[in-house]
């Protein structure tokens, strides 16, 4: 068997293939994809040489879906079916969308079992969730990357606003899955920008990232030390962005020209004209807005930069209270800050640059393209996560943006994990029964800073059953909250006194179930059932291959050192079993392949534990030697 020769025990594994990994900035107004090529992060262009892709999706009655520039030019013609700034609706319910009435969309509430309450948009091809719409944008970027890099992607780092809550993060991850992208990590946008900026300028010290995107505002404070990017605090406003500056011009037009009851088409047209006027005011002191509405009446107005500044003064000052909060959370003074990096297209506005400069008493840093810097940072991180080591050792320590809590008596939220704690993080909290013989208990998990549960975001409700009957107050139920490196939460519970385990993992209530995702994946595809099976098989094969690859590398590195002869043999038996199954290819049964993968995973648990202990011990002994030398 050819396979055996490649992986003969004791021989070092074949060198890692360079894995194709990309960074994707899924933005409110624009999205882009970047990758590290020959050691340098570059944004990947489309056929016409453009790197930016407008985050606009146009659905046509015949099922054709347009994404990007063409879709954007249709926005005014077909506003109901042309979805702009879909990111604003990710992980959101109808009641969260403040200006829903003034948008040219028909919002409906999802009735799906798991995604209940999530907002959906009515289009010519049916009701669509923001997750499905975002997936269309991601699919285009995936294709662009695969064509440009010449192969299938092994994974992507997708950026999210640092201030995105659990619901918005989960929705982003679901969209990627729907687009057939394996998510290596969700990365906070300001952190991504800091990576690109920090590595480019070899910066050290305390840096702030002021990131005003199309729909979100993020502010992060980081400490940069020799390849370590440590986020000290983050804050922001997930409903404030460049779009609001467009809207300020739009509202001004409406009131000065005494317009009212505009059609959806005219609304979209005026919003676009407002955005263009805003962009022109970056270079010009005065600009003219003129266009024709559907009823042939014309709109003519002259907007000066002074008026624009006055119109948006309150929007701008709204960004500084999160800035102050973050500085306080990090226990820092303005003098401690080495530099302020500006990110996001909206930071091109001259009066914003002046305001930021005056606030920090220093000129903001703008030497990287504010539209690209996030995607470039994500590409660098993706390259590192895929295991393509290029000598640039990089460590990111990010934080959770909003506190996690559970509902207690009186509808109050008790904070379990406070905001700005470094992730991954876990906290345990003990609860007890309040009635004799009580066998179940319900929990409600929320996210947010407010004291009242009703003012926080509801993440999940779950019931813990099977508590052994005891007198009131005798049971000790330990609930553990774990936030992973993507900033996503899982909860588990265990009754301590009897050792009765009731492990549960909570999938937040707004998320999509696997069934829902599978349904969405197969919708609209001919031979849906067969395609679905093939897809599942492909996914299982990729997973098995990755596991084999990782295990063989690990065995070659430290198998001899850490495993007894018997243990070594067990792992290799499982490796061979899985490898043989893979050779069968499509003749494979999905069930058997999954079973063999699980078995190899289980067989390597002890080995994995020892490897981790070894590397941790090495890290510390290295440290002790260092302190003796000093």
């Amino acid at each position: 068997m050819a396979f055996l020769q490649i992986t003969e025990p004791g021989q070092s594994a074949a060198p890692h293939q360079h894995r194709l990994a990309v960074g994707i900035d899924l933005g409110t107004t624009h999205s882009l994809v970047a990758s590290v090529r020959s050691g340098i992060a570059v944004a990947l262009p489309d056929d016409a040489g453009r790197t930016l892709l407008p985050s606009v999706v146009h659905y046509q009655a015949d099922g054709v879906v347009d994404v990007g520039w063409d879709a954007r030019s249709n926005a005014a013609k077909d506003p109901h079916n042309t979805i702009v700034s879909v990111k604003r609706f990710m992980g959101r319910g109808i009641e969260d969308i403040a200006d829903a009435a003034s948008m040219p969309y028909q919002f409906v509430e999802s009735t799906g079992a798991e995604s209940k309450g999530m907002v959906k948009l009515k289009t010519v091809i049916g009701e669509l969730s923001p997750v499905e719409i975002s997936a269309e944008i991601l699919k285009v970027l995936r294709l662009r990357a695969e064509e440009s890099l010449g192969g299938e992607l092994s994974g992507a780092v997708i950026t999210v606003p640092a201030y995105f809550d659990d619901a918005q993060r989960q929705a982003t991850k679901d969209a990627a899955r729907l687009a057939g992208i394996s998510v290596l990590r969700l990365l906070n946008e300001p952190t991504a920008a800091a990576i690109a900026y920090g590595l480019d300028n070899a910066s050290e010290g305390i840096y702030c990232v002021y990131d005003l995107g199309g729909g979100t505002f993020d502010f992060s404070i980081l400490r940069l030390t020799r390849g370590v990017f440590e986020v000290l605090a983050t804050s922001g406003d997930s409903a404030l962005g460049g779009d609001d500056f467009d809207r300020a011009i739009f509202d001004w037009l409406m009131s000065t020209l005494k317009l009212s009851n505009l059609s959806a088409e005219d609304t979209r047209l005026l919003l676009t004209e407002s955005r263009l006027a805003k962009e022109r005011l970056t270079d010009d002191a005065v600009t003219e807005i003129s266009c024709a509405l559907a009823d042939k009446s014309t709109v003519n107005a002259i907007l000066s930069r002074e008026i624009f500044i006055a119109l948006t003064k309150s929007l701008l000052s709204k960004t500084f209270s999160p800035v102050r909060r973050a500085l306080r959370d990090a226990d820092l003074q303005m003098e401690d800050v080495q530099g302020v990096v500006l990110v996001g297209g909206a930071t091109r506005m001259p009066h914003l640059r002046v305001a930021v400069g005056e606030f920090f008493y220093r000129e903001p840093l703008t030497n990287l393209d504010p539209d690209k810097v996030v995607a470039l940072g994500a590409a660098i991180q993706a390259n590192a996560l895929a295991g393509n080591h290029d000598g640039n050792e990089l460590l990111l320590l990010d934080v959770i943006p909003l506190s996690l809590g559970i509902e207690t008596m009186g509808g109050l939220s008790e904070k379990i994990i406070p905001r700005n704690v470094t992730i991954p993080a876990a906290r345990a909290q003990d609860f007890t029964t309040f009635k004799d013989g009580q066998t179940a208990m319900s929990f409600h998990v929320v996210q947010g800073e407010r004291e009242l549960v009703s003012e926080c975001r509801s993440l999940a409700s779950f019931e813990l059953r099977g508590i052994p009957p005891m007198v009131a107050g005798a049971a000790r139920i330990r609930v553990t909250f774990q936030v992973d490196a993507d900033g996503l939460l899982s909860v588990s519970a265990r009754e301590q006194t009897t050792g009765h385990e009731s492990q549960i993992t909570v999938k937040p209530s707004y998320g999509l179930t696997d069934t829902e995702i599978t349904q969405m994946l197969s919708a609209g595809i001919a031979n849906a059932a067969h395609d679905k099976d093939m897809r599942a098989l492909r996914e299982a094969q990729v997973e098995a291959r990755q596991l084999l690859d990782a295990t063989e590398t690990a065995m070659a590195e430290s198998g001899h050192e850490l495993l007894s002869k018997a243990e070594w043999d067990v792992v290799w038996v499982k490796i061979y079993e899985l490898a043989e199954l893979l050779i069968l290819g499509d003749a494979n049964s999905l069930q058997t392949l999954r079973q063999a993968t699980t078995e190899l995973n289980e067989a390597t648990t002890t080995f994995a534990n020892r490897r981790m202990d070894l590397s941790i011990n090495n890290a510390l002994s290295g440290k002790q030697i260092e302190s003796i030398n000093i």
């Binding site: 306080r328 991954p424 345990a428 490196a485 990782a550 981790m612 510390l620 440290k623």
Partner: protein, 176 residues
């Protein structure tokens, strides 16, 4: 995450530090970064699932340990718990509680008048107070080894930290 590990790990050992209140924060920081550069899930993203799971657990533990030891209040509490001497702490003195009320009144008054200058002065005074309290705590734990007295000082320190949060929130409210 196995919570048993989270509650039983000796964080001083984890970071290679002697179990004392006075620690070199630079050494702590250095050890933290070294450990995370091995254990962080990002370093194991292309490894086996078992390794990814263990990395998540270890990295969580290292973060928790760093947080616990970096903050003087939680570091002192951790040392007291480690000593196994868990006598009930003495009650807070009346004069301490009186002083607390005065602090609170001063903060409320300045907030009502939207007086940023007074709030900032209060914040400075409080910072100084906390520094003194931490110094005393160091002597109580490292020189005298008096855990009962230390417990009382830790409780007082918690009050000061609460006040600091309140001043910050008041400043935030006024400036927004």
């Amino acid at each position: 995450m196995d919570m048993q590990t989270l509650t039983e790990t000796n964080y001083f050992e984890l970071f290679g530090l002697a179990p004392r209140f006075s620690i070199d924060l630079n050494s702590l920081e250095r050890a933290f970064r070294q450990l995370q550069s091995e254990a962080h899930p990002d370093k194991h993203a292309s490894n086996t699932q078992s390794e990814q799971r263990i990395a998540l657990q270890q990295s969580t533990l290292i973060n928790d340990g760093y947080q616990t030891l970096r903050n003087p209040t939680s570091r002192a509490q951790f040392l007291i718990n480690l000593s196994g001497k868990t006598e009930t702490a003495q009650a807070l003195s009346n004069s301490f509680l009186m002083a607390q009320m005065e602090w609170r009144e001063a903060i409320e008054e300045a907030t009502a008048c939207r007086d940023v200058v007074v709030l900032e002065a209060l914040s400075k005074r409080l910072k100084h107070k906390i520094t003194l309290q931490v110094n005393e705590l160091a002597a109580t734990l490292d020189l005298q080894g008096d855990f009962a007295a230390a417990e009382l000082r830790v409780n007082e320190l918690r009050f000061y930290e609460k006040l600091r949060l309140e001043i910050g929130e008041a400043l935030d409210k006024i400036s927004s």
